[in-house]
């Protein structure tokens, strides 16, 4: 009697331990996540540095790659935080659109400067809650210190999408959340003022992009 119970306890304990140790989660395939990150980084560099494509089309190709692989609606809600709930549907829509531009021009330029000397080495993957994983990688560039980057991915609408990037311990979405909250608060809590500043900034970034300047 006692032995049987003991076996049961051991079995349960082992089962629990095994399920918490196994890296692959029921909902998210770790290998798939790793492959996605390596493939995405390669594609982004290709789109931005491949030969024989006009600059304007490069950015649009980058944009479609970006939209399909980043959880933009989720990130937008997180970044605006309490201001999202106060914002009108129109303001929300405007913000998502402007924030998309901001991210596209920010990252398109980074991959453009990167050239093909850049490589993203995927090291490992860890489960992160029910629907997510964190992919551990290092960005290696010629003659520079390697930069550790964590990719936080989550299952949204049936596909794995990027939720956040953590570069040297700093979260992209947390940084945006603080920056935008600060702009809103500097302007007396007015969300439209943030939208105005974003509109101006993205227009000037788009001009820089098409002028081929890197800075």
């Amino acid at each position: 009697m006692l032995t049987r119970r003991l076996i049961l306890v051991v079995a349960i304990a082992f089962g629990l331990v095994a399920s918490s140790v196994l890296p692959a989660h029921a909902d998210v395939d770790g290998q798939q996540a790793k492959d996605m990150v390596s493939k995405l980084a390669k594609q982004a560099v290709e789109v931005m540095t491949g030969k024989g494509v006009p600059d304007s089309e490069r950015v649009e190709r980058f944009r479609s790659l970006f939209i399909s692989s980043v959880d933009l609606p989720g990130i937008s809600r997180f970044v605006l935080a309490r201001h999202w709930k106060i914002a009108s549907p129109d303001q929300q829509q405007d913000f998502v659109k402007l924030f998309e531009d901001m991210l596209v021009y920010t990252w398109a330029n980074r991959f453009k400067d990167a050239s093909d000397k850049i490589a993203v080495q995927v090291n490992g993957v860890k489960p992160d809650g029910d629907q997510g994983v964190v992919v551990d990688s290092v960005i290696v560039r010629d003659g520079q210190e390697p930069v550790p980057v964590l990719w936080r991915l989550r299952q949204t609408d049936g596909a794995l999408r990027i939720q956040d990037l953590l570069i040297e311990g700093t979260s992209m979405i947390v940084t945006y959340r603080e920056e935008y909250a600060s702009v809103i608060n500097q302007n007396g809590g007015n969300i439209n003022s943030l939208l105005d500043v974003l509109r101006k900034k993205t227009v000037s970034m788009a001009q820089q992009q098409s002028a081929g300047k890197t800075n």
Binding site: F78, G129, T170, S182
Partner: protein, 274 residues
Amino acid sequence: MTTRFHPSSFFRSCTTAFCTLVMSVVVAGCADAPPATDTEAVAEYNRANDPLEPWNRGVYDVNAAIDKAVIKPAAERYRDYVPEFVRDRFRDFLNNLRSPVIFVNDVLQGDPKKAVDTLTRFTFNTGFGAGGLFDVASGLVPRHENDLGETLGVWGVGEGPYLVLPLLGPSNPRDAFGVGVEAYADPFDRYASNMGYGYVTYIRGAMSGLQRRTENLDTLDEIERTSIDPYSTIRSLYRQYRQSLIDGKPTSDKPHPGLSGSYPDNAELSQETN
């Protein structure tokens, strides 16, 4: 009479500028905290951890002006006109001089492996690297930084309110205290001062500053290009980075470097993004 540089009037105007700054802080006072009933606004205010924001923004603006006029152009010229080989020798030499301070902090953090690393590197580079001019040990033992602010953080000392220091930039009381103690206790600086070569300390400080600014040229340009409020971007990056260094220590109990501290956990993230 021709216009010449007069040190006395220069310092007088500096004093005036400083007094104006201090008075503006007194007038501006602290940032207004939101009413306690608005819990989400309070949470946002606490996340920024910047009750001295008006003062900090003032110092930031002065720093940014000095940077634009003097420091950044100097760093760009240093990068563009001084050969890489020479810059690397300065870098390695200055890094090597920091080894004793790094070693002490490794020990204070109870990290014998890192302490041995630092000691090995210092011995190798001083002995076989022409007194530290060449980082010959980096192939064997990679370099790591460490400082007293991190040590205090590992010991559980909180960061305190965000602070922008004149010239030195983003900090907090804990890290500023660390910088102050290290500046006082650094063995090379102490030796130089005791031998009557106190100015060597200033040259070293200036060179380290130039070195640091040169390394950060691209990063700060990128923030300038993409941020709509560089002040709060830098504040956020500094605080997250410092916290991640502390969380990443083997003696820290945090699970995953970069995914701890004030970072939202998965439950919070799901709730806030859906």
